[in-house]
């Protein structure tokens, strides 16, 4: 007579979950019970048949289609997405800055005479929704590579200023220094994605340290901003690479 206990035992053996003792129990039952043997054979055949089904490779165009959809979604919801990323990163930066501020306050008292002539070091606001407006013109582009890092920077005209959009990738950590005309004011760093380790502005200089991939946009305001030259330095892995933006306007 076939019972639920036999079925459970048979399935456990077929699924590879049975103990040696359970296997022995099944063997004994099969040796003495023809109905159990028949039922076991049915189960075993179903298992063997199902095992003949092989997984198939997904279509070759699937991954490109997925990534196209992701990129399209990313662009269409850029503002919202950047908001989320910025909030997360902004919180992380906020914590770092709070710690840095406490340490800096003590250190500042000690080293102030050495740095007093180097301009104001300001922390940048990392919130806001300003995006380069649709249809704004690209002024110039630059690509740099140093050590294990790459940087692509694009200058876009903005009302009363320019936006420097950066896409970077560093094998370890890297530093970007942008030297710009002192008449320009770096307003803020926006649309941050990735891991900026340090964001600092001094008069005429933007400094960014980061690890891995990072994207951000720095907004600079000032008269004739689109015509002011900029020098860009990328340092990574003991290597340095330099380039210029708006060179033709010099």
């Amino acid at each position: 007579m076939i019972d639920e206990a036999f079925d459970a035992l048979a399935h456990a053996v077929l699924d590879g979950n049975a103990t040696p003792q359970q296997r022995a129990t099944l063997d004994a039952r099969l040796a003495s019970d023809p109905a159990a043997r028949e039922r076991w054979l049915d189960f075993e055949t179903t298992h063997t048949t199902l095992a003949r089904v092989r997984n198939v490779e997904p279509p070759l165009d699937l991954k490109p289609a997925i990534m196209r959809a992701v990129h399209a979604d990313r662009q269409s919801s850029a503002t919202g997405h950047f908001e989320g990323a910025r909030e997360r990163i902004g919180r992380a930066i906020g914590l770092r800055l709070a710690s840095a501020f406490a340490i800096g306050a003590v250190a500042g008292i000690l080293i102030w005479p050495l740095v007093a002539n180097r301009g104001d070091l300001r922390n940048l606001p990392t919130s806001g929704t300003m995006m380069p407006e649709p249809g704004t013109a690209t002024i110039d582009r630059l690509s740099l590579a140093a050590g294990t890092s790459t940087l692509m920077i694009e200058l876009v005209a903005m009302p009363k200023g320019i936006a420097a959009r950066m896409e970077t990738n560093a094998g370890g950590t890297a530093e970007i220094v942008i030297e710009h005309d002192a008449t320009l004011t770096a307003e803020s760093v926006r649309e941050i994605e990735g891991r900026p380790l340090r964001v600092a502005l001094t008069t005429g200089t933007i400094g960014l340290e980061f690890a891995g991939e990072m994207r951000c946009t720095v907004l600079l305001k000032g008269a004739k901003a689109a015509k002011r030259p900029m020098r860009v330095t990328l340092r990574s892995g003991g290597m340095t690479s330099r380039g210029e933006l708006n060179r033709s306007s010099q």
């Binding site: 189960f43 048949t49 997984n55 699937l62 289609a65 992701v70 979604d73 950047f82």
Partner: protein, 181 residues
């Protein structure tokens, strides 16, 4: 990809890193596509579902809780999508759920062999509840406990559902002459 490496990739993707997300697509597109293929019986529908699911994963990455397994999360999204799709198809078309879909052309890679076509056909004759446990256990190689976690049902229920599903499937295969009576 190890768990730690995967978590690091997920975190990068949560920060909007599309390249990191691409690594997740590489890791999971095969299993998700096959899961959808066996649930729907159609290569074309599986392709569309896989794309839809990855887009949902991308959009909802921020809500992923790393205390749970990532694969459970994406599997669950795919299972829900597949079940909804099968229900919609049954509701809105004249297609009989018990028949393989008309997309299942003989030259379809998913149905390359005749035996696979018959097994897929027999599978489509099962209810979605029975089909999913067969697919998860036999084609995705998940353990009882993993299936239980994924479907939010007790392990005991997984076993009993699986045993019943196997018996029904075995009978269907015999009717189709795939296995001897």
């Amino acid at each position: 990809m190890s768990d730690d490496a995967e978590l690091a990739v997920i975190r990068r993707a949560q920060n909007g890193d599309a390249r990191a997300f691409e690594a997740l697509v590489d890791e999971y597109q095969g299993v998700l596509y096959n899961l959808a293929l066996r649930m729907t019986g159609s290569g074309e529908d599986a392709r569309d579902l896989t794309q839809t699911v990855f887009l949902k994963v991308w959009r909802n990455l921020a809500s992923y809780d790393p205390r749970h397994r990532f694969y459970s999360w994406v599997y669950r999204i795919m299972l829900n999508e597949s079940l909804n799709f099968v229900q919609r198809r049954r509701k809105h078309s004249e297609l009989d759920e018990r028949m393989p879909s008309s997309d299942a052309e003989p030259d379809d890679e998913a149905h390359a062999s005749e035996i696979t076509q018959h097994i897929q056909g027999a599978l489509m004759e099962l209810t979605p509840e029975y089909r999913e446990v067969i697919v998860l256990r036999h084609f995705q190689q998940l353990a009882y406990q993993e299936i239980a976690e994924l479907l939010s049902i007790p392990e005991k229920t997984v076993k009993s559902r699986l045993y019943s599903a196997r018996q029904l499937l075995g009978a269907r295969l015999r009717q189709r002459g795939i296995t001897s009576a």
